[in-house]
């Protein structure tokens, strides 16, 4: 935080919409497939034609229950539907079917690693999560004074779960950690794809500051930031807003009681938030129970069944990986945060190699870096988990040193094949002990200064000789070279 002056506390609450991974929409049989030509996935119900009536998609209820359980929410025995009313052309009925006072999930929490101290956990409360139908998409072309708007209603009626956090987040880093954990759980349980680019995960951030003015708490007006299209954008928008609100407070002195909640957009290219044009008067949505839909009873047996079907949740996997493969909490966290397929990859590598720690560090350093460079997923990664496991097994047994193992790794990346074929292709052979001793003897004779330095206490001096040894014979194992050099020097 780049605020000079009074100490501040940042207060952040997030409203996250995740699109539930149902085949069909929330109240009709239309497909939810992303990217179809405009207005091709619509029917009388989602178009809101006169006389059409909504019918609930039970799969959406099931996914919402799964999501709620994964967020430690309570699922009430009864939930109902309400109409949220406003006029907009991408909302054909003039109201959105949502949930007002009896949401399907309430009162949960997420624990995140504290970005300021990764060994500490932060408890982030979840007020509620409710189901609602999505609106359509408006595309405005207001260039040159024209007001040409196009509406695509394909998205209209797609099921969303809106997850509302308590204002428990204290920094953009925590916000990102919260979102990452939320996304992880939703994708892990196959509740949602959580693709921000496709709009299947959307984030609105409510931000303000508590400024400590000589012991007195001053709260700045709340701003809701919209239109953030990546986690990175969420972080940057929050950081920008923290500075902006402090500056605004310094300039105007306005506090939360002077200014109602405002809606700001985030401009990713200018890297700033901007006030949206919409009117600031607080909207009255005139919620009332939707008379076209019956309340939904959720018997405890159904919830128990859903709970039993959840399987292992990310937090449980973290603990298990730590115990089963003897890795640190931080490492387990990194692996689990990458999602189900990477966890599976790791487990095969670790069990094949018999070395969980080495597997973890290779996956974090070599595999993830390469995936990032190549912009590929673990499914597309050229080296399969068994092959990597075999490679690391040879490192652990001392057959291969790390450097040579990286050569093999690179070779496998480029050419595929097995560890053995790669070793053969690279001409890697174990160097005979006598051969190594001769090589070291020659190096020591050629570098008397190094021997002198070593005896004088500069033991790291031999590092240079190890490099030279490898130049002369690429198969020389650095560890063996080091050991041989030390033995020879000390016997001198």
């Amino acid at each position: 935080m780049s605020i000079d002056g009074y100490p501040t506390t940042t207060i952040i609450g997030l409203e996250v919409h995740v699109q539930l991974k149902t085949k069909t929409k929330l109240f009709c049989g239309c497909s939810t497939q992303f990217g179809a030509p405009p207005n091709t996935q619509v029917c009388a119900v989602c178009l809101g034609l006169p006389g059409a009536l909504p019918v609930i998609n039970d799969q959406a209820i099931e996914l919402a229950i799964r999501a709620g359980l994964a967020l430690d929410c309570s699922i009430p025995p009864m939930t109902k539907w309400d109409r949220k009313q406003y006029f907009y052309p991408d909302l054909p009925k003039g109201y959105q079917i949502s949930q007002f006072d009896l949401p399907i999930c309430a009162d949960g929490f997420i624990e995140i690693a504290d970005p300021a101290d990764p060994d500490q956990q932060r408890h982030i409360g979840i007020i509620r999560a409710h189901l609602e139908e999505d609106a359509g998409k408006s595309m405005h072309d207001e260039a040159a004074g024209r007001s040409d708007s196009k509406i695509d209603l394909n998205r209209c009626g797609t099921p969303l779960l809106e997850i509302v956090s308590q204002p428990d987040l204290r920094s953009s880093g925590e916000a990102k950690a919260y979102l990452s954990e939320l996304k992880l759980r939703m994708t892990h349980l196959d509740v949602s794809d959580c693709e921000m680019q496709e709009g299947s995960l959307r984030v609105d951030a409510n931000v303000n500051l508590h400024i400590d003015v000589e012991g007195k708490k001053v709260a700045t007006p709340i701003v809701e930031i919209k239109n953030m299209n990546s986690f990175r954008a969420v972080e940057r928008a929050i950081d920008y807003e923290i500075d902006r609100q402090y500056d605004e407070w310094e300039e105007t002195g306005h506090t939360i009681s002077d200014v109602p909640k405002r809606t700001f957009g985030w401009d990713d290219s200018k890297e700033q938030t901007f006030k949206q044009r919409e009117k600031e008067e607080s909207a009255d949505y005139r919620y009332f129970p939707d008379p076209d839909l019956l309340p939904i009873r959720l018997p405890v047996e159904r919830i128990d069944r859903a709970r039993a079907n959840l399987g292992e949740l990310p937090a449980q996997i973290r603990t298990r990986l730590q115990e089963q493969y003897d890795i640190k909490p931080y490492d387990a966290n990194v692996i689990v945060n990458e999602g189900r397929t990477l966890i599976e990859y790791y487990e095969v590598v670790a069990s094949t190699s018999g070395d969980g720690r080495r597997s973890s560090s290779w996956i974090q350093q070599d595999v993830l870096r390469t995936m990032n460079e190549r912009q590929c997923s673990i499914d597309e990664f050229p080296i399969d988990s068994v092959t990597l496991g075999n490679l690391l097994k040879q490192v652990s047994s001392g057959t291969l040193d790390n450097t040579r193992a990286r050569d093999v790794f690179t070779h496998l990346l480029e050419n595929g094949g097995t560890v053995d074929t790669a070793i053969e292709a690279l001409g890697i052979v174990a160097v005979d002990g006598n051969e190594l001793e001769t090589l070291c003897q020659e190096l020591l004779e050629a570098n008397p200064k190094t021997v002198e330095d070593y005896h004088g206490g500069k033991k790291q001096a031999i590092g240079a000789l190890i490099g030279q040894a490898r130049k002369k014979n690429a198969n020389a194992n650095p560890q063996q070279v080091r050991e041989t050099l030390i033995r020879l020097i000390e016997s001198m």
Binding site: G51, A52, L53, Q85, F87, R286, L293
Partner: protein, 508 residues
């Protein structure tokens, strides 16, 4: 006129027949074809329309083609639907894919739905012939069919008077002898009151008994589709066709449909307890003729062996206020979709001054809705919007929901004392056209005795019960517990077996 003469006359004086069942019999006996019957209905409509104006749309060609298909089907020996070749009319609030569906509103003047309402599908499956769409109060909001954008409908008994509403056209065309059966919708009495005013039989089924899919919504928690006909037997025949669970309407009841038709027409009501709504009969605003009709009906039921008991519905004074909060609230929401953006009327010339002030989008909304809706619809949208607003919802909408629960409780208590309830349909017979158009409160009070059944979700039937001193039809109303339509029909048919009020027809 002897019935077999029908074939020798053109157009046949089909209006002289006394039931849909007779029309079915004529065809199965080979005495008339569906085409002849439909031609006769169309001729009858042609004759009465200039004075009555019961229809917003008549489709001669479509009807005759459908009739021909029914005749072909019969000739090929296939089994026939329960309303084969029977001409029917449907209120213009029900979606029909081959005819416009206007709700008698400027807003939907050009609207053609891409689908049939469930009840329309079921009529077609039963081989009924839909001859046209009937006039109504705009979006079913009214009690006189005077708020229609397609002109007023007149009462066939007295063309200076209203046929009632909102299903005024549906009741008037049956009374005029155009068709033996029509479909109406009833949100606060819109089947029963016009049936009473026009001297025909009209049934509002239990909420959820008939699918609302394709019924253009006015107040979703109160709306229900039901039949209007010449007799209880015909009404039962049509209910049999349209009733039943349908998954496209989440509020439709998944309960078996009993046989409504076969148990009718016995005059023996021994063991039946009929609760007389004494407070309604004694209320001040009720016409003497109406009171007399109910009193006479009490005697008929007693003669048939029924036991009469006085029952009360203590919260009935809250019916109309409760209804006129809940119905407009739901209507204000249901009618939000008519914004001119996707279909329906869109204002072509947006006032630049309004566009300047509100922006082009909001200006288009305001003007499209301003032009597309009539005064009564606007009034109810405003009332409903107000009653749901922040700070007012607790005082109005939520309060009305509480009152609604009390009203339901009253009915539960009443039905522990009586098997069904007897009372008036409306406080007065048909009033004069224009008499109440400037006084919405007086118009709303037409619903005084009918809205209770909608608020409680119970079935109720309106039966012709004689005529006033002025020769206007009078009606009585029977109400029964949820899903007891069969009881209403059984008792109604017993009444009609002992009386001939339902056989009376207006002079052409």
């Amino acid at each position: 006129m002897p019935r077999d003469s029908i074939l020798h006359e053109f157009p046949p004086t089909f209006a002289m027949l006394d039931s849909a069942q007779e029309i079915l019999r004529l065809q199965s006996a080979g005495e008339a074809t569906a085409v002849e019957i439909v031609e006769s209905a169309l001729a009858s409509i042609e004759a009465s329309e200039p004075s009555i104006n019961a229809f917003t749309h008549i489709d001669r060609e479509v009807a005759l083609q459908a009739a021909k298909r029914v005749d072909d089907k019969r000739r090929s020996g296939q089994s026939m639907g329960a309303l084969a070749g029977v001409p029917v009319a449907v209120k213009d609030v029900l979606c029909t894919k081959d005819m416009p569906t206007t709700c008698s509103s400027e807003m939907l003047r050009q609207f053609r739905p891409p689908y049939d309402a469930t009840v329309i599908e079921r009529l077609r499956l039963a081989d009924a012939i839909i001859v046209g769409k009937t006039n109504m109060d705009e979006f079913a909001m009214g009690a006189s069919t005077e708020t229609s954008a397609f002109g007023i409908t007149r009462n066939p008994w007295d063309t200076t008077r209203t046929p009632g509403g909102s299903s005024g056209g549906a009741a008037a065309c049956v009374a005029a002898g155009n068709v033996p059966l029509s479909l109406g919708s009833d949100t606060g009495g819109s089947i029963r009151q016009p049936s009473g005013f026009c001297g025909v039989t009209g049934l509002k089924p239990t909420y959820g008994r008939v699918s609302r899919f394709g019924l253009v919504a006015f107040a979703s928690s109160l709306d229900q589709v039901g039949p209007i006909g010449w007799s209880v037997t015909d009404v039962a025949l049509m209910l049999q066709v349209i009733a039943g669970y349908e998954p496209r309407d989440s509020t439709s009841l998944n309960q078996d449909v009993p046989d409504y038709v076969s148990s009718l027409q016995t005059a023996d009501l021994r063991g039946l307890r009929i609760g007389v709504l004494r407070d309604a009969l004694d209320s001040e605003g009720i016409d003497d003729d109406v009171r007399k009709a109910v009193t006479e009906a009490m005697r008929v039921f007693e003669d048939a062996g029924a036991e009469l008991v006085d029952v009360g519905l203590p919260h009935s004074e809250y019916w109309v206020p409760t209804y006129y909060v809940i119905a407009p609230c739901e209507a204000s929401s249901n009618l939000s979709r008519y914004d001119g953006a996707h279909y329906g009327h869109r204002s072509t010339e947006v006032d630049p001054a309004i566009a300047q002030e509100l922006g082009p989008l909001v200006a288009t909304y305001c003007q499209s809705r301003g032009e597309g809706f009539g005064a009564e619809v606007k009034r109810r949208i405003m009332v409903g919007t107000y009653a749901l607003s922040e700070g007012y919802a607790d005082q109005y909408y939520n309060q009305a929901l509480k009152a609604r629960r009390l009203i339901k409780g009253d009915y539960d208590a009443a039905f522990s004392q009586a098997d069904l309830l007897l009372g008036p349909v409306s406080p007065t017979p048909a009033f004069r056209l224009g008499e109440k158009t400037d006084d919405p409160i007086q118009m709303y009070l037409c619903d005084l005795f009918t809205v209770g059944a909608n608020l409680a979700g119970i079935p109720a039937i309106s039966l012709p019960a004689g005529h006033s001193a002025d020769g206007l039809p009078l009606g009585i109303q029977l109400q029964a517990p949820v899903l007891e339509e069969a009881r209403l029909l059984f008792v109604g048919s017993a009444y009609q077996a002992s009386t001939d009020h339902h056989r009376q027809r207006p002079q052409a």
